[in-house]
Structure formats: C-alpha cells, structure tokens
C-alpha cells in the first residue's frame, strides 16, 4: 500500500513538473497576465495615484479593498467557530492528572522570552506600519504580534498571558479590527463617495488625495492586524487547553 502511495506521488509529481515548461518566461511581456489592461494600469499608475512604493500593498488594501475586508471577516469567523466548538464553561473535573499546573517552561525559557518579547512586539508593529515600503502589512504583523503572546503563554504559563490579554479583550479586539475596517469604508460613504473609496477622505486627512489613500491603507492595515492578533491568540489558547482556558500545554 505504501508502495502504491509512493508510485502515485512520483507520477503526479512528474506530470506537474512536466507542465511547468508551458509557463511563460519570467517577465515575459506577452504572457496573458501582462497583456491585459488591468495589470499594466496597476504597474504604471500605482505610485503616482497613491504615493505607495509597494504596489502589492496598494492592490491589496486599496484596489481590492473588498477582498481584503472579507478575508479579515473569514479569519474572524474561523476564530469564532473555534470558540463555538471548543470552549467549555464551568466543569473542570476532566483535567488529566499530568496536566495540572501551569508554571511555564522553566527559568531559561522565561528569561529568554523576557529579553526578546518586547523586541518581537516592536518588530510586529514595524511590519504593520511599514506595509507601504517593505513586504508586510496587517496579516503578517498580526501574526507576529499574536505569536509574541503565544510565546508569553508558552514560557510564562497561560495565566500570565491571560492577565495581559484576557479572553474578553481578545474578542473585543477581534471585533474592533473588523469595525475599524468597515467603519473606514462607511466613513468614505458618509463623505459622499463609494464604500472604501479612500480618495473621498482628502478633506479630513492631510496631504491631498494621494496621501489620503496612503494613510487610509495604514488605518485599514491596523484593523486587519488587530483582528489577526486577537484571533491567533484566541485559537492558540482554545486549542491548547481544549477550550477550558485554564490548564494545558
């Protein structure tokens, strides 16, 4: 049986590899992706219209704002789903003997964690804030920030992490992130333009229409980062403790 598995993997791998030679070359001008009017518009006009050097961020947070908004909502729903399935309230009698106690991972892990944790958090905020200039943005920064709290929970024990980032606070932040994103879109609506059309905000934000779009992308990224952080930590604490949120890994 194992042999057939190996055989099928090899055959499928061979077929996939043999299909790669039909791909267009790197940077081929005539490839289907480049021949249409859409991508050339992004490549030529992004910098001039939004003042954002990294055009991927502009496409993600501005031109395809709806897409990113609902991606964030998907993450939110995933987190809510895990809470709905796993979270148990009240009964504590089913904790196995060898899982009692949550004192963390020992002296060395605690010290290392305390030395690098603030810098990891700062790095996460840097990734969020520099989505315009470097690869990164709300999702990546949110994952790093969530990972810093997971590190805290692993090294110091879940109780310490919960005193920093309680369950109530995770849910509030997760909802707040979505609220910031959608609220920004509604703000555009109120200012008399379409939903998520940031150029309507130039009367509120400084620096003209282009900078208004740039700043709006930052605001939207912050919303995404809040949701991702909260959902990351909520998922970890629910999965690692089987929904009891007191003792476990």
């Amino acid at each position: 049986m194992k042999f057939f598995g190996l055989l099928s993997v090899i055959i499928v791998g061979f077929l996939l590899l043999s299909a790669t030679k039909d791909f267009p070359n790197w940077g081929d001008e005539d490839s289907p992706a480049n021949s249409g009017p859409v991508s050339s518009f992004y490549i030529e006009k992004t910098e001039e219209k939004t003042k954002v050097p990294n055009m991927v961020t502009a496409v993600l947070a501005d031109y395809r704002g709806y897409d990113t908004m609902f991606e964030t909502v998907v993450i939110f729903i995933a987190g809510i789903g895990i809470i709905a399935v796993l979270r148990t309230y009240g009964s504590n009698e089913s904790i196995p003997k060898n899982q009692v106690g949550d004192e963390g991972a020992g002296l060395l892990a605690r010290m290392t964690c305390s030395l690098i944790l603030p810098f990891i958090q700062l790095f996460a905020l840097y990734v969020v804030a520099h989505g315009h200039h470097s690869p990164g943005g709300g999702f990546q920064g949110g994952v790093m920030l969530g990972a810093s709290y997971i590190l805290l929970a692993l090294a110091y024990g879940l109780a310490r992490a919960k005193s920093c980032f309680s369950e109530k606070r995770t849910l509030v932040f997760a909802a707040l992130g979505i609220f910031i994103y959608v609220g920004w879109g509604v703000l555009c609506l109120v200012m008399g333009s379409e939903f998520l059309n940031y150029s309507a905000l130039d009367s509120i934000l400084p620096g003209g229409v282009e900078m208004a779009r740039s700043h709006s992308m930052l605001a939207v990224e912050i919303g995404v980062a809040l949701t991702v952080t909260a959902i990351m930590f909520s998922m970890f604490s629910n999965l690692s403790t089987k929904g009891r949120l007191d003792k476990g890994l």
């Binding site: 020992g106 002296l107 060395l108 010290m111 290392t112 964690c113 305390s114 030395l115 944790l117 603030p118 810098f119 958090q121 700062l122 790095f123 905020l125 840097y126 804030a129 520099h130 200039h133 920093c164």
Partner: protein, 160 residues
Amino acid sequence: MYRALVFLLLLITWIVLSGLIDPFHIGLGVISSALVAWLSSDFLFENRSAKLIHRLKQLARFPGYLIWLLWQIVLANIHVLRISFSSKVNDQIQPQIVRFRSGLETDFEKYVLAQSITLTPGTVTLDIDKDMFTVHAISDHAAEGLVSSMAQRVKNVFAE
C-alpha cells in the same frame, strides 16, 4: 525611570529597523514604542531595585566576558568538529552528567551562566534547580573545561 529607559531602547531599535527618518515614520515609531513600553516594559530589567550606576558597571565589564566566551565557543566547536570527523566516534566520546553548585544568586546571573555552558565545549545545561546545575557533557575534556573558570567569571562580571 526604567520605563523611560525601555522606551528609549525601543525607539532606537525602531529607527534601526525602519531606516526612514521623516516626521511621519518617526511619529509612528514613537507611538509604537510607547505602546510596547506600556504593554510589556516589565519584561526587561526584571530586578528593578538595583541602582543604575551599578548596572553601568556591569555593562562595562560584560564585553570582556563576551569576547572570552566567543573564543571558548570557537574552541568548543573545534573540539566537536574533531570528534565528529574522527573515524571512531564511540571511542572519542565519554558522555556524562555533571552536577555542581554555582554559588550564583540572581536569576539573570544563572541565565548567563546556563547559556554560556550551553554555548561552549560539548556541554549542555540539563536542569537548574535553585543553585544546582545539572550539565550533560560529551567528553572528559569538555567536563574538565566546564567547572574551571566560567562560574567565577560570571560572578566577577556581576559583582558589586
């Protein structure tokens, strides 16, 4: 006091990370550093009773220790390299567990000693129980090098 120190440290880190010196990004940096300093400043400098001048003295002595440590790490690696390339590995290694008391008091001193042990000649810290270090050593040579001077040096660095 310590919170302001942490804030300054984080702001310098931000500037190194970002590399963009304009008011907008520096402003973002100030906001982020303040946020992190507010959220988790109590992780750095766990023992806050020590005087600042005392800390500066320790900081001045630390680079010398670090250079000595790096040299020890290089020696350690040559040792492990020689073992791993020798034709009979089993004859070269004498695995053993070593226990000793370090005589160090604060957590940070123990942390520095444990990390140094793990980084140097074929020895890994297995466990720290209060003052008692349990160390796994790969050979007699490594075990001899262990207790000779490292704990004393760490103690000297963090002396009053």
